[in-house]
């Protein structure tokens, strides 16, 4: 339902941050480099700005693809398979949801994040009620 008093024209985007599968273990190593720590601190500062503007919804880091489980329906019934949906060279490492006025604004925000953190981020529009059948 649209809230007509505030955020009338905002829309949500899912930000998908990928990392090379081969680099995962290095990326989650116990002792991040000073550069990595500085980059993360800069990112957190930016995240606080987005919280202040009301554009930040949520953000979470993900476990290694090895600890995921994929559930599929098969002729033998529903089965659970250990591991990710598909083996990929680039794997999802974290995600965020932002709630912004425009696609351009989403691109601006993500540009700043990628500039700081270095790894690619995919912007996926979350389909709102206006696209519902």
């Amino acid at each position: 339902m649209l809230n007509t008093t505030t955020k009338e024209t905002t829309m949500k985007y899912l930000l998908l941050a990928y990392t090379p599968a081969a680099a995962w273990d290095a990326a989650t190593a116990d002792t991040p480099t000073d550069d990595a720590l500085a980059a993360f601190a800069a990112y957190q500062k930016f995240e606080q700005e987005l919280v202040a503007t009301g554009e930040f919804v949520t953000s979470e880091g993900l476990g290694h693809p090895a600890v995921s489980t994929t559930i599929r329906k098969t002729p033998d019934g529903v089965t659970a398979t250990d591991g990710p949906f598909a083996e990929l060279k680039e794997v999802l490492a974290s995600f965020a949801v932002i709630d912004v006025a425009s696609h351009d604004r989403a691109v601006d925000i993500v540009t700043r994040i990628v500039d700081v953190l270095g790894e690619p981020i995919e912007i996926r529009p979350i389909m709102g009620e206006d696209f519902a059948a």
Binding site: D25, D30, H64, V67, T69, G77, T79, A80, T81, G83
Partner: protein, 412 residues
Amino acid sequence: MTPHVEHLLRTEAPQVLGALVRRFGHFALAEDAVQEALLAASQTWPAGGVPDNPRSWLIRIGYHKMVDLLRAEQARRRREHHATADPTSHAPAPETDDSLTLLLLCCHPALSTTSQVALTLRAVGGLTTAEIAHAHGTTETTMGTRISRAKQQLARAGARFTPPTDTDRDTRVAAVTQVLYLIFNEGYTATTGGELTRVDLTAEAIRLTRMLHASLPHHPEVTGLLALMLLTDARRAARTSLSERDEQDYHLVPLDEQDRSRWGRQLIREGTDLIDGVWNRHPAGPYQLQAAIAAVHAAAATPQQTDWPQIAVLYLWLERLTPTAPVRLSRVVAVAKAYGPARGLALLDDLNHRHHLDRDPLTRQRERAVRAHLLQLTGDPTGAARLYREAAGLTGNHVERRYLLDRAGRLG
């Protein structure tokens, strides 16, 4: 490893395992991962210092080990299994005590008692396979096989890492108390063997029971079990003595010959307070009754001051709940002490007539020793000597045999 680090690791082990299993599932792999994390900690902490937050350090390392193990397994084969989703199940409450859930999982009804014991010591107690094997006098390979088979059985049984429902909680907790009592008794018996093992199963059982009691502070039988263990352990220093001939040869000192000044006063106080706290508030279960009996013994400064009539009543009560031959024979001893050897003999005759304590494998030897003692007290030295010799022929313990033959010899 310092005792401080060792204690810390053993305390954290179930919490770390609980955190990993609750989030990622894969109990068997998570359990291996925690073992590796504990090993890593035991190698690095003594020299490098304990991290600020030891639990999150262990969880982080355990998680990395788990990823490694899962990747290796997934590389070998893509494993498929039937999804066991239960649409009606609810996520566990965040305040769920992982150590209790883990204990219940390790004492799952699909497992044999020996597997329950081994898995509990490793997954909840944080002992290594080698330590568990040593404590049970078996090889590390044998114990390792037993533990991995237990984990496979859990997986096959579809055991879940979820807190028990109210309906099955009491039976599940009863299984846990049985396992903990068994571990305690294994340790208790082992201390008479003469060899001091590094892993003290008695202390471990008490530690785990304290943990269980902290999770279920109002459970009367858990409280009774902890009280029973503390009151029994209080006699530890007095219950064995070294033989004069051979310093390696420990022997048991009977309760009425123990030096009571060597009983642990603090343990007695704690155990007595625990049993007093639950007594008369609930229908007493077997652990509470045994704890109460131990508390009555502990309250007597000398054997002569023992309140035997009360002990006889407690044994009668215990016999109604657990009608086993050893309990019946213990009641005979209590009645004889309370009301004289003739009353004891009459009761023994009656119980033999109905329950054949003289033929039960658990009591046939002690039945003869008890009857011999009662005959001796009622003026039948010939009958007493004959039964002491019979009892001596039925025991495998050479110290006890010597003791019984000695008594028979003095009667002629």
